[in-house]
């Protein structure tokens, strides 16, 4: 069975809590808050002002540049404010607040459940629809999909890879999406293959989801060039570069290298379903599946949620916060970010809410590095995390840059495996941010 060549760890997947609960639609929220920056790149520019009436699916913020994404209203109602509000980390961000009045949709959106398999649009039209629908990578990286699909001149896409790995422990939103929206997913794959003009497509799924593999294989039968590939369970297989290596054996060059340099384009499973909705149903990205899970959550659930719904509403539907000290993560335990503000909204990149109690979230006191090199063994990018961490702590930015700190995908494997419980990634991430800043400043100075 295929997997990526170096590094990786085996955390227990803990998907049992929410994997068997079918996707449930959340009741419509009364108020939504929509951050203008839900993607990598320039924040969108608000097109509405306080007091404006909006309809569900209406464009409320427009992409500021090519590397940006449109944002649509997830409900119909009145805009009550366009202001700086605290996000999940307590930092203030520009957000549009909308108060709901009924549920009126913009005309032209097909809301029926009928599966539309035929797509007669050409590549440019498909891309235009994806762009106007504001679709971004829904696995968490939130890279605008239209940018990914616009192949730069001189390069050629050979493979389309659909990322159904979901290697992050706890989360099951992609898994449930593949099981329940499999038919839409397959049409989405065909649309993407057409848009990219590729003959070969893979759907990579980790082997701990055999029913998803079997289900998609039945649906994919008879489609030329589409292959559903089960992969060996190993974290971080869902990382773009790791998945490309696992499926094609090719290695993406270090930054600024992109998957397209080895002829691959990777799309998340949920994103592919969103592409189907955008192209076939003209429906913008206004809702997504969010897993609310944890050992101590009363009813772990997979919820089909409108964007901008507050996280506390989702937690309430799942049975509320457990007693005592808890840690609420936006995402899973490996890559997710801890939240301090539960009134913050669900965004395009929010695939799950993981709730850990104090004991589960406990971090041991950091000891000293014994140079056992377990982190080096675990690093899927072939870096030396102990060294990068130490040098970042010392602010030796030139050293960490020379040692390829920008290659780090922040998967946390090093920190997970460290027997001395060192906060390796904490420092590496700070170092990476500093080096990225230096590189940007250098590029700006050259211009």
């Amino acid at each position: 069975m295929k997997t990526f060549p170096i590094g990786g760890i085996h955390p227990s997947d803990n998907k049992q809590w929410s994997k068997s609960s079918a996707i449930e639609a959340m009741p419509l929220p009364d108020v939504v808050t929509i951050p203008l920056s839900q993607h990598i790149g320039a924040p969108a520019v608000a097109k509405v002002a306080k007091g404006d009436k909006v309809l569900t699916g209406q464009l409320i913020a427009e992409a500021a540049s090519f590397m940006s994404a449109n944002i649509h209203s997830p409900i119909s109602g009145t805009v009550t404010s366009v202001d700086m509000l605290p996000n999940a980390q307590g930092l203030r961000q520009m957000m549009i607040t909308i108060k709901r009045e009924g549920d009126e949709w913009v005309e032209g959106i097909d809301r029926s459940d009928k599966l539309v398999t035929e797509c007669n649009l050409d590549s440019a039209e498909i891309l235009a629809r994806i762009k106007s629908a504001g679709i971004v990578g829904m696995g968490g990286a939130t890279f605008p999909t239209h940018v990914k699909l616009s192949i730069p001149a001189g390069k050629k896409a050979e493979f389309l890879i659909i990322n159904g790995v979901e290697c992050e422990p706890y989360l099951t939103s992609d898994y449930r999406t593949m099981l329940e929206y499999g038919d839409r997913l397959i049409v989405g794959v065909r649309i993407l293959m057409k848009a990219l003009d590729v003959k070969k497509a893979f759907i990579g799924i980790e082997n701990n989801k055999p029913d998803a593999v079997a289900h998609l294989r039945t649906l994919a039968a008879g489609i030329e060039g589409l292959e559903v590939v089960p992969l060996k369970v190993r974290y971080p297989q869902g990382g773009e570069k790791q998945l490309i290596a696992a499926l094609t054996g090719r290695q993406v060059p270090p930054p600024p290298g992109l998957p397209i340099d080895v002829g691959a384009v990777v799309c998340n499973a949920s994103t592919t379903v969103a592409v189907y909705d955008a192209v076939q149903k003209n429906k913008p990205l206004i809702e997504r599946v969010v897993t609310v899970t944890g050992k101590h959550v009363a009813q772990p659930k997979n919820l089909l949620t409108r964007m901008g719904t507050s996280i506390s509403a989702l937690v309430a539907v799942a049975g509320g916060l457990p007693e005592g000290d808890v840690k609420v993560l936006n995402g899973g335990p490996m890559m997710g970010r801890a939240m301090i503000n539960l009134d913050s909204p669900v965004t395009k990149g929010c695939s799950g809410i993981t709730i850990l109690d104090g004991r589960e979230a406990h971090r041991n006191a950091a000891a000293v590095c014994i140079k056992c090199a377990k982190c080096v063994e675990a690093c899927p990018m072939g870096l030396e995390p102990f060294f990068l961490s130490k040098m970042s702590q010392r602010k030796s930015w030139d050293v960490v840059e020379a040692n390829r700190i920008t290659d780090c995908i922040e998967c946390g494997s090093c920190q997970y495996t460290c027997p001395a419980s060192l906060p390796l990634l904490d420092f590496i991430r700070t170092g990476k941010q500093a080096v990225m800043g230096i590189i940007r400043a250098r590029a700006a100075a050259k211009k």
């Binding site: 422990p169 808890v326 840690k327 335990p333 970010r337 946390g412 906060p423 420092f427 700070t430």
Partner: protein, 324 residues
């Protein structure tokens, strides 16, 4: 015996030859260096703190000797005396600079700025501030993990365990500016040093709107502008909801201290002006302070008790390893 003699002789000849070669090479490639650089370096404190902007004392000494105009160069550690001595030795005009002291501009003590969550990541201000707002609701305040303490080469800055805020020992501080660079929140400012540690400054850096500040911290500057109006020397400016007292213009008249409704203007080493003549303006000033009271507990309850870090739970990892 002859072998021994031969060996010793050969080595001796080799040694002498090498010495002659080295002598000529050394003469040919001799680097002429101004002997005054060594002398000036001895006069400098030798802390190599980088406060002057150079890599170390040696680099500073070189610049002092080589440049004709040394008015731009100043050693904050040695201060005016050292610079005078160096200037006299070199026969140049001594640069004059008023002594300065690092000042931490945050007054959000544990009681005034309630903690809303616990941080369990690496104990570093740089790490915490890159991840999120901090353990309180204020995005601008002191985090208290002591990046400035690590940066200080003179043991002049410490975190007060009672307040959780960095405090500067004015006696030890040399105003080298290392802490200013280390603070990711940009809280530390080099201000004019008054005798006996006297100081008046706005102990807040929050550029949030007044209502937001009051929710997060009872000692924050709300940018009301009362101090700006009362200042006779034009030392106070309010920009982006934040007051700033220019330490070069301030005369320590203390009028602004009594005006401030939240007590964000801090006064050290001086008695505040008597309250009696201030009785009239003190009453309206108390009103916004009272407003802050009900807002504070709200901030307390709204925040869930979360802890911050992005690792997998170690408990699970242990279980997992055992299973393997």
């Amino acid at each position: 015996m002859s072998i021994l003699l031969f060996t010793v002789l050969t080595l001796c000849v080799l040694g002498v030859l090498s010495a002659v070669v080295l002598y000529f090479v050394a003469r040919k490639f001799k680097v002429e260096e101004d002997p005054r650089i060594d002398e000036v370096e001895k006069m400098l404190p030798g802390a190599n703190c980088g406060g002057c902007g150079f890599a170390g004392c040696r680099a500073m000494a070189e610049a002092l000797v080589k440049r004709d105009d040394i008015s731009e160069l100043f050693c904050p550690v040695g201060g005016g005396d050292t610079m005078k001595a160096v200037a006299t030795y070199l026969g140049k005009a001594a640069p004059e600079k008023e002594p300065r002291v690092a000042t931490v501009r945050c007054g959000g003590t544990c009681e005034k700025r309630p903690r809303t969550n616990t941080f369990d990541g690496a104990r570093s201000c740089a790490v915490a501030s890159s991840l999120y707002v901090g353990e309180t609701a204020c995005a601008y305040g002191c985090l208290g993990y002591g990046d400035c303490v690590t940066a200080c080469a003179f043991d002049a800055i410490h975190i007060n365990p009672e307040t959780g805020i960095a405090e500067v020992d004015a006696e030890k501080c040399t105003a080298c500016g290392a802490c200013v660079k280390a603070c990711p929140k940009g809280l530390i400012e080099l201000r004019k040093k008054w005798p006996k540690g006297r100081a008046i400054y706005v102990s807040c850096m929050s550029r949030d709107k007044g209502a937001v500040v009051m929710k997060a911290c009872k000692a924050g500057c709300i940018g009301c502008g009362k101090c700006e109006k009362v200042c006779e020397f034009g030392a106070i400016t309010v920009q982006n909801n934040l007051a700033f007292i220019d330490s070069d213009k301030c005369r320590l008249c203390r009028k602004c201290v009594n005006e401030c409704p939240t007590g964000a203007i801090r006064i050290i080493g001086l008695a505040p002006l008597p309250k009696a003549p201030k009785a009239a303006p003190a009453t309206p000033a108390a009103a916004p302070a009272a407003k802050a009271e009900p807002a504070a507990p709200k901030a307390n309850s709204a925040a869930a008790k979360n802890t911050v870090a992005e690792t997998a739970e170690k408990v699970e990892s242990v279980v997992n390893k055992k299973e393997e």
